[in-house]
């Protein structure tokens, strides 16, 4: 509370200081000039009075001088007792000898032995008057008068009165200014008080009262206008805020709903995945067992067909032999199919063990194998040197065998067969490819290339089970990579694959380390 008072009264203090200061200056100037004027006037009047006194007395003493009567002159001078500030006086004869003298107190300074120059002289706080007594143009003598002019007393007295008046004036000015300045400071202090209260309470509905019609009143009015504006704005802001908060809560609700749905969805996906996985496993188990179980009857068919040929080489007509060889071929092919299916199934089940594999070396060995199996073919094979990949060696070999085997197969009818194994960088990933200039394929079937049992060529044209590319795709996918193909009928085909995608790179890296360990 004290602090508040101090703050609010600072304006009052200033105003009071201004008023009192001005009053003091005015008082000083007024009293000072009055004193100066009065002292000057007093001095002039007083000296004139002394001169007159001297002249009068001198005139009175003329007969005494004329008729040489110092006694009368002394009596005349003695009249000066009535003027207490006259200390001494004398009349000198025409030659300067003392004719008669007067001293107020015997102890006083004696009159000078000779008269001074005619005129009035102020010496310190004394005035000396020398007045030549002239009668009919003749100098009869000199009248001398010495008096205390009391100017200092007068000034002192004036100063006392002035001090008293100044104090009185200041007191009156103080009392009056307390009332006057209120009319100036009160409206300002009111505005300040309202401003402070608003700052403390943030209540913009308050208004400064209008206490005057001057600029301060105008200030208060402007302040109120400002407050109204602030109030309106703050209302609008509060409304906007409420609106936003409402929207936010709606959005949060929606978000929660989405999260709930998402979790539901995830739950469902997990369920489905689990169902799917078990179904897949069942299917694979089924597939495996079927394939496995199919082998026995197939072996029977194959064996008995061969036994027929072996046991009855002549008894059977040529036609039967032809049929038997067809049966044997079909059985062999079916065996191959079952083998491939089993392999595919194994790929799915086998655990993935990654380590660094020299892809160039691997491809070289595979090509070497192909050349051995088919020594009649002349195929130009280009393998880029030093390709190292991080992969499961067994699975990768299967994939490369299939890819190169395909290339080898589909370039059989090409005049200058050429196979290329290489790699290129595509941003952060390395893309490997196997390219040939063989039969190629129609791009509109590109999406069917990697499905099991999908074939784009007739069996008699290019033999195959239709499982190879499915196997390759399975290997690539198990490594977390991608595979795609590019081709044109009669102009060759190119198979591109990656063994890891950069998106999974972060999680892929530690896996690599694990694989090596």
């Amino acid at each position: 509370v004290n602090l508040k008072d101090d703050r609010s009264s600072s304006l009052r203090r200033k105003l009071r200081r201004v008023i009192l200061g001005t009053t003091l200056v005015a008082l000083f100037v007024a009293l000072g000039s009055m004193i100066a004027y009065d002292v000057r006037l007093y001095h002039r009047t007083w000296t004139a009075d002394m001169a007159t006194q001297a002249e009068l007395l001198a005139r009175t003493c003329v007969p005494a001088l004329l008729f040489d009567d110092p006694g009368v002159a002394r009596e005349n001078l003695a009249l000066l007792r009535l003027r207490p500030n006259v200390l001494s006086a004398a009349i000198y004869g025409p030659r300067g000898a003392t004719f008669a003298s007067y001293s107020r107190d015997p102890g006083d300074t004696p009159v000078p032995p000779l008269p001074g120059a005619d005129g009035i002289h102020v010496v310190g706080s004394f005035v000396e008057v020398n007045h030549r007594i002239v009668e009919d143009g003749a100098i009869l003598g000199t009248f001398y008068l010495r008096a205390r002019h009391g100017l200092g007393d007068r000034i002192l007295q004036h100063l006392l009165i002035a001090s008293f008046l100044a104090v009185l004036g200041m007191v009156v000015a103080y009392v009056y200014s307390e009332r006057l300045q209120r009319s100036v400071s009160q409206p300002i202090l009111e505005v300040a008080r309202v401003a402070r209260e608003i700052a403390e309470t943030a209540d913009y509905s308050r208004r400064a009262p209008r206490l005057s019609d001057d600029e301060v009143g105008l200030l208060g009015e402007s302040f109120n206008g400002l407050l109204a504006e602030v109030e309106a704005r703050s209302h609008a802001l509060a409304e906007t805020n409420a609106e936003l908060a409402r929207e936010m809560s709606v959005k949060a609700e929606a978000q929660r709903e989405i999260l709930r749905l998402n979790s539901e969805l995830e739950e469902r996906v997990r369920d489905r995945t689990a169902q799917l996985t078990s179904a897949m496993q069942e299917l694979e188990t089924f597939c495996y067992s079927v394939s496995h179980d199919l082998r026995a009857p197939l072996r029977g068919i194959h064996g008995f067909s061969q036994a027929l040929v072996a046991d009855f080489p002549r008894d059977l007509p040529d036609e039967a032999h032809r049929y038997l060889s067809r049966i044997t071929a079909s059985a062999t092919r079916m065996e191959q199919l079952i083998e491939d299916l089993l392999n595919l199934s194994k790929l799915t089940r086998a655990t993935l063990t990654r380590r660094e594999v020299d892809l160039s070396d691997l491809a070289g060995r595979v090509v070497e194998n192909l050349r051995t199996t088919d020594p009649d073919r002349r195929v130009e094979v280009l393998i880029r040197e030093g390709m190292k990949v991080d992969a499961d060696p067994r699975l990768l070999q299967t994939a490369i065998e299939n890819l190169l085997g395909n290339a080898w197969k589909f370039t059989a009818k090409t005049e200058l067969p050429r196979i290329e194994v290489g790699c290129m960088r595509d941003g952060a990933r390395t893309v490997h490819f196997v390219r040939d200039n063989g039969a190629g394929f129609d791009m509109q079937y590109a999406d069917k290339l990697f499905g099991a049992f999908q074939r784009l060529h007739r069996q008699d044209e290019f033999p195959g089970t239709g499982i190879g590319l499915a196997t390759v795709a399975r290997v690539v996918h198990r490594h977390g990579g991608r595979i795609w193909a590019d081709g044109q009928i009669g102009a060759g085909a190119a198979f591109y694959f990656t063994l890891a995608e950069p998106v999974a790179g972060a999680t892929d890296a530690p896996e690599t380390t694990n694989g090596e360990a």
Binding site: P63, D68, P94, G137, I139
Partner: protein, 185 residues
């Protein structure tokens, strides 16, 4: 030119007055200067006396001082009153004999030498507007208005106001203030 000359005269007069005053103050020279002092006093009296209006015909009519029985004084007076004016009237000094008429005079001085005939002279010359100045003991009782006396080795004078009033003369109080004795009217 005239102003310069009159200044010079004033200066000369002042010097003379000075001389008279100092002589008056000195005991040794009092006898020799007595004539001069009395002459000066006689001259000064004129400034403190108011004559009846009928005495002067005009503003610049002369103020005539007649001297009986004291030639030294008459000489001195002539010297110091030359070219002087009192209240605008030029001063004229006349040396008179006992039988000379006193009409037309404003001041009449009767010297000590005529002490024996003083009563007769005073009676004969008595007329309104004529100031009689004498130099003899008991002259005031005989009708004189101002009478010189020597007291404490100074030249003083007594005044008879009764005589002055009867002669229609008004004496200034300032003159009375310096008189030794004043016989009231």
């Amino acid at each position: 030119m005239t102003r310069v000359r009159s200044r010079r005269r004033e200066a000369a007069l002042a010097a003379l007055l000075l001389l008279a005053a100092t002589r008056g103050r000195s005991a040794e020279t009092i006898r020799s200067s007595e004539h001069a002092v009395k002459a000066a006093y006689l001259l000064h009296f004129s400034a403190y006396v108011e004559w009846p209006t009928s005495t002067f015909q005009g503003a610049d009519s002369p103020l005539v001082i007649g001297v009986l029985g004291d030639d030294d004084l008459a000489r001195d007076l002539s010297e110091i009153s030359a070219d002087r004016r009192v209240a605008g009237h030029p001063l004229v000094v006349r040396r008179l004999l006992a039988e000379d008429p006193t009409s037309g005079l404003q001041i009449l001085f009767i010297g000590k030498s005529l002490e024996r005939d003083l009563s007769e002279l005073l009676r004969k010359s008595r007329a309104p507007g004529l100031l009689a100045v004498t130099d003899s003991d008991g002259a005031l009782e005989l009708g004189s208005t101002i009478n010189f006396v020597t007291a404490e080795e100074r030249v003083r004078f007594d005044i008879s106001l009764r005589s002055a009033e009867s002669l229609d003369l008004r004496l200034s109080s300032r003159l009375l203030a310096v008189a030794r004795n004043v016989i009231p009217g």
